[in-house]
């Protein structure tokens, strides 16, 4: 946001506001709430994404706990049928769209530019817009709780049960329109990150020298780029039916309810890889660092990631094996679904071989990564049992499926995210998380999650269907497989799991207050994001590094001894940092903050709100969109040089030329 000249890197640059488009001055604050709300800095945006996602994790988690309380015993009385149906719908929607996806966006935003040696993303303002749209979309989605009831059709919202007669509250409207907003956020974010990765890598960083996390994020952005429009179509059809009287899912008019299912799952299956691949990327960073070895078979991991992304487009109907597709379609989709286990297996194998022969350091981050390998495999293997279509017709819509997807989602995506927390916390906040609390965090979560979701395999194979607000003793059986017993275990497990997650929150709180700063390179890490301060300076790197290796940072620190083939240290991170500061770029121009992203994003829920209540409100929203769009278009992303004035004594700000 300003021109910063060494050696005063930490002093906020001072910008004199000039007018843009006659009315509004550019925001300039470098501290205080304004510095966050109007920021375009990918790191601040990343942190805001993270905080938002964490908040929604707790919301979704509390919803899950209510579900488990209700199901702990037969004929539960905690929730009534209506509330229960809203609860699991919103639990899933929140966890998937407002926790895992934004958390992945948080990591991606923060680390992709750092990992590729860039100073920001390709479109900084668009980045801010993505975040605000996500936040407002998430709030909008949850507003329904207070305005007559939330969506109650299950997270895949099958038609025609989502139609106006069958779901008469406004819940589904809020759901469809809210997801539309978060979809816009995802799409904008995807374009942004794709261009960033394609176009802004540091010199020398070919695609095959790109850190694996960045690779997986890139695959995910492509999945988003192409999957989001599909659900956009589906949601439009749904909204048009509910709000404007279209007939898309009206069977009386000849509609086929399977239309919705296809559109939803054409999006929905790529979506599950959107949820898992970022975590695959995270642990592919963590495992090599703490094994002190490069990732085994890097090109295989890259290509298998891409293959998963690609094949993931051809399997969607495995969610519809009982829908009546006809045997040919079922057979085809059964086969493609099995095929996808192969590239996923490649990853599991490569992670294990990365550790093989290493020098393993069991930090909390590493433990979570290892936990992912084992528990994701459990979930993946149950996935393979679903892919056998005839046997899936016994399993589908039972708790066996619920077990599958919580193992891949919690045992996969969430464990990966926690691994990322512990690994990158010092980078982002300049503080170490406590390893001892981390250990508690890890073990309680592992025990809790297995106790919660493990029994669901049994429940499902014993025939307990999902989405039942109550279950009955009459169908519970006796003895070892008694449903009452396993439901109780699952509910107890969920509270152990909660304690585990609380340990993390406690850890954050405790270490936050600890004044001790994290060392520069606490893990002896390998990739570029560690080649800068903790937290990074606003402009990330004093010098844009030139890349010669995959694991560039490691190779700057270590060299191979020609005779013994062991690695010996030739430089410390501190030395590398000092060298960078000496050679700092003279003149670094960062994008300026802007009002428009948040204004534009705020207009979206106004428009959708109006669609539900009164078109007049939508018109207001539309006007704001136009206004913000003009403001945006007419403001250059960086304030022109003449905007800057060197008027604060003691800071060495300079305008060159």
């Amino acid at each position: 946001m300003a021109i910063i000249e060494r050696p005063a890197p930490t002093v906020p640059a001072v910008v004199t506001p000039t007018s843009t488009y006659g009315v509004l001055k550019r925001p300039v604050s470098a501290t205080g709430w304004r510095s966050w709300v109007f920021t375009v800095d990918h790191k601040k945006i990343g942190i805001m994404y993270g905080a938002t996602a964490m908040f929604f994790f707790i919301v979704g988690g509390v919803e899950a706990l209510l579900i488990r309380l209700q199901l702990a015993a037969p004929n539960g009385k905690v929730l009534n049928a209506d509330l229960y149906n809203q609860m699991f719908t919103m639990h899933a929607t929140t966890m998937v769209f407002l926790f895992v996806m934004p958390m992945a966006a948080a990591f991606a935003n923060y680390f992709v530019p750092l990992q590729i040696g860039a100073r920001d993303v390709a479109f900084p303002r668009l980045n801010a817009f993505s975040f605000w749209a996500l936040l407002f979309g998430g709030i909008f989605l949850n507003l329904a709780w207070f305005l007559g009831g939330a969506a109650d059709g299950g997270w895949f919202m099958y038609a025609p049960n989502s139609g106006p007669v069958f779901s008469p509250t406004n819940g589904v409207d809020f759901w469809a329109l809210g997801l539309q907003i978060t979809g816009i956020a995802s799409l904008a974010g995807a374009i942004n990150l794709i261009i960033t990765v394609l176009n802004m890598r540091a010199p020398g960083m070919s695609l095959m020298k790109m850190p694996i996390f960045t690779w997986m994020i890139t695959v995910v952005q492509f999945l988003l780029l192409f999957a989001v429009p599909v659900i956009t179509v589906a949601l439009f059809l749904l909204s048009f039916q509910r709000n404007f009287g279209a007939r898309f899912f009206d069977v009386a008019a000849g509609a086929d309810p399977l239309l919705w299912q296809h559109l939803f799952w054409i999006f929905g299956h790529p979506e599950v890889y959107i949820l898992i691949l970022p975590s695959f990327g995270i642990i592919s960073e963590v495992l090599p660092v703490f094994s002190r070895k490069p990732l085994f078979g890097y090109p295989f991991v890259v290509f298998s990631g891409a293959a998963i992304g690609f094949v993931g487009w051809g399997v969607w109907a495995h969610h519809m094996f009982a829908s009546g597709l006809g045997p040919v379609s079922v057979a085809v989709f059964s086969l493609t679904t099995m095929a996808i286990a192969v590239p996923t297996g490649v990853k599991i194998i490569n992670w294990t071989l990365t550790m093989w022969g290493g020098k393993l350091w069991f930090t909390t981050a590493m433990k979570f990564a290892i936990g992912l390998i084992v528990l994701f495999t459990v979930g993946g293997l149950s996935g393979v049992t679903h892919s056998v279509a005839p046997s899936d017709t016994q399993q589908t819509d039972t708790y066996y499926i619920v077990a599958h997807f919580h193992y891949v989602l919690f045992g996969g995506a969430v464990l990966g995210i926690f691994s990322g927390f512990y690994y990158w916390w010092p980078k982002v906040f300049g503080k170490m998380l406590n390893e001892k609390l981390g250990s508690w965090n890890f073990w309680l979560m592992i025990i809790g999650l297995n106790l919660t979701f493990g029994p669901m395999h049994i429940l499902g194979l014993q025939g307990q269907p999902r989405r039942m607000y109550r279950w009955t003793e009459a169908r519970a059986g006796e003895g070892f497989f008694n449903l009452a017993f396993w439901n109780m275990i699952a509910s107890i497990g969920s509270f152990i799991l909660t304690t585990g997650i609380l340990m993390f929150l406690i850890n954050v709180w405790v270490t936050w207050r600890n004044p001790k700063k994290a060392p520069l390179d606490p893990w002896d890490a390998r990739s570029l994001e560690w080649m800068t301060t903790n937290p990074p300076k606003e402009h990330n790197f004093d010098v844009i590094p030139t890349v010669h290796h995959l694991d560039e940072f490691f190779h700057r620190k270590y060299e191979e001894d020609a005779t013994t083939h062991t690695m010996k240290q030739v430089a410390t991170a501190e030395e590398l940092m000092a060298e960078q500061e000496r050679n700092a770029d003279k003149h670094i121009h960062m994008p300026s903050p802007s009002y428009w992203p948040i204004v534009l994003a705020f207009a979206l829920p106004i428009i959708t709100f109006g669609i539900i209540y009164s078109y007049l409100i939508s018109v207001v929203g539309g006007v704001i969109v136009l206004f913000a769009a003009y403001g945006w278009a007419l403001e250059s992303s960086t304030a022109p040089d003449s905007d800057f004035e060197n008027n604060t004594p003691g800071t060495a700000l300079a305008i060159h030329d």
């Binding site: 049928a81 209506d82 299950g154 099958y158 025609p160 049960n161 069958f166 779901s167 008469p168 000849g254 509609a255 086929d256 309810p257 002190r292 085994f296 078979g297 090109p299 295989f300 057979a331 059964s334 086969l335 286990a341 192969v342 599991i348 194998i349 490569n350 294990t352 071989l353 550790m355 093989w356 022969g357 350091w361 069991f362 390998i373 084992v374 495999t377 293997l381 149950s382 393979v384 049992t385 056998v388 279509a389 005839p390 046997s391 017709t393 016994q394 819509d397 493990g454 194979l461 307990q464 109550r470 009459a474 169908r475 003895g479 070892f480 275990i489 270590y558 191979e560 062991t566 690695m567």
Partner: protein, 396 residues
């Protein structure tokens, strides 16, 4: 708590072994009772075994690595980047395993989709939140006029039954785990599901596609009867209406029924006081267009989407626990006054929506043009309820 711990240990030891021998839940998916379910089971058992073995291999490999290569102060290892040959081998092996699985899967898919060997057809219609069965005329089974029933699907053993499923409102899914996997009942489509039972018995099932408020309360049961018993059942279903004895409580009940219930519920053969047949018009009152046909209500064991028992607990256990050679006879005995589950039936008549959540609150009906989804609260007096119960008991 102690029990918890112990059981947790047991799981880790051998859930696979135990799966085949405990007294399981009635919807256990691993206990096929007919050829279609058996076909699935024969396919899934080896698949589960293979998956289990692969899981164990991965867990063992990770554990071994973690123990063997933990940091004992060894030097930083050589920075090797992988071994393509090993890599390819380990990619090909899973692919081969899956190819084998795929071959068997294909076989099963097409066998389960066959319809040309059907011996008997039953139409099944899902509706919020109960199932209707409609037996089209099939002379070889003595079905000379259509039979309409709900809740319990009655079928002959050893007969290839083809269900033709559809729905009147949203998607439901028909599932009797002991007999076959699920098939969705999709409005606007007719889809088929093969069922065949080896032995007489009652097999539990549950609607498995989320279908709104009372999805959890939408159950069903398949009752397989020996061919002779099935013939008896058919004959009874086609038996003419029995007018209640004059001046009995039941006859007063018939009057109440004609006043209150007939606008939705059909009872075949029931006449109005003026001698015209009483024809129900559920489509004018119920959004989805139908209400259960009550002609032979007391020949079934359950009501309201099999969510409640018509039989008292004791009598029910007797039927369900009966060995397969007598279960048919017990089932055909129907519900007698002694065996009636008075409590639930009365509660149902008193206030159905309280027993089973439904959209029956007048305030909710604007969007459905005043039509109910489910059975409404009818503000019946206890007196009327007594009469109705007496009447319903005559509907054998």
């Amino acid at each position: 708590m102690h029990k918890t711990l112990k059981s947790a240990v047991v799981v880790f030891v051998g859930s696979l072994v135990a799966a085949s021998c405990a007294t399981n839940a009635p919807q256990d998916t691993w206990q096929p009772k007919g050829p279609n379910a058996k076909l699935i089971d024969d396919l899934q058992q080896p698949v589960f075994a293979v998956a289990g073995i692969i899981g164990l291999i991965v867990a063992a490999a990770v554990t071994y690595t973690v123990i063997k290569y933990r940091d004992r102060g060894q030097p930083i290892p050589e920075q090797t980047h992988g071994k393509p040959a090993l890599e390819i081998t380990l990619t090909v092996i899973p692919a081969l395993i899956l190819a084998v699985v795929a071959v068997f899967t294909f076989g099963a898919i097409f066998k389960l989709a066959k319809t040309d060997d059907t011996e008997m057809i039953i139409n099944v219609t899902g509706q919020q939140w109960w199932w209707e069965y409609d037996y089209p005329v099939q002379n070889e089974f003595g079905i000379t006029s259509p039979i309409i029933s709900s809740g319990q699907l009655v079928m002959p053993v050893g007969t290839k039954v083809l269900l033709r499923e559809t729905s009147r409102d949203v998607i439901h899914s028909y599932w009797i785990p002991a007999l076959n996997g699920k098939r969705d009942a999709v409005p606007g489509r007719v889809q088929t599901l093969r069922l065949e039972a080896d032995e007489p018995g009652i097999y539990a099932g549950q609607c498995t596609e989320f279908c709104g408020l009372s999805h959890a309360n939408m159950r069903m049961e398949a009752v397989a009867l020996s061919k002779e018993d099935f013939a008896k059942w058919v004959a009874n279903q086609q038996a003419p209406y029995v007018v209640p004895a004059k001046d009995s409580l039941a006859q007063q009940g018939e009057t109440v029924f004609l006043n209150q219930c007939v606008r939705c519920h059909q009872v075949n053969g029931l006449m109005r006081a003026d001698g015209t047949p009483a024809i129900a018009a559920p489509d004018e009152n119920v959004w989805s267009g139908a209400a259960p046909n009550l002609s032979h209500l007391m020949s079934r064991n359950t009501f309201a989407g099999a969510a409640f028992d018509l039989l008292s607990k004791k009598c029910r256990d007797e039927v369900w626990g009966a060995p397969s050679n007598v279960v048919g006879a017990k089932y055909l005995a129907g519900v007698t006054e002694d065996c009636l589950n008075q409590k639930d039936l009365r509660a149902w008549l008193r206030n159905a929506p309280e027993m089973k959540p439904m959209y029956a609150n007048p305030a909710d009906l604007e969007i459905s043009n005043g039509k109910y989804r489910g059975m409404p609260y009818l503000a019946l007096s206890e007196d009327d309820i007594n009469k109705l119960v007496a009447y319903l008991l005559t509907l054998k």
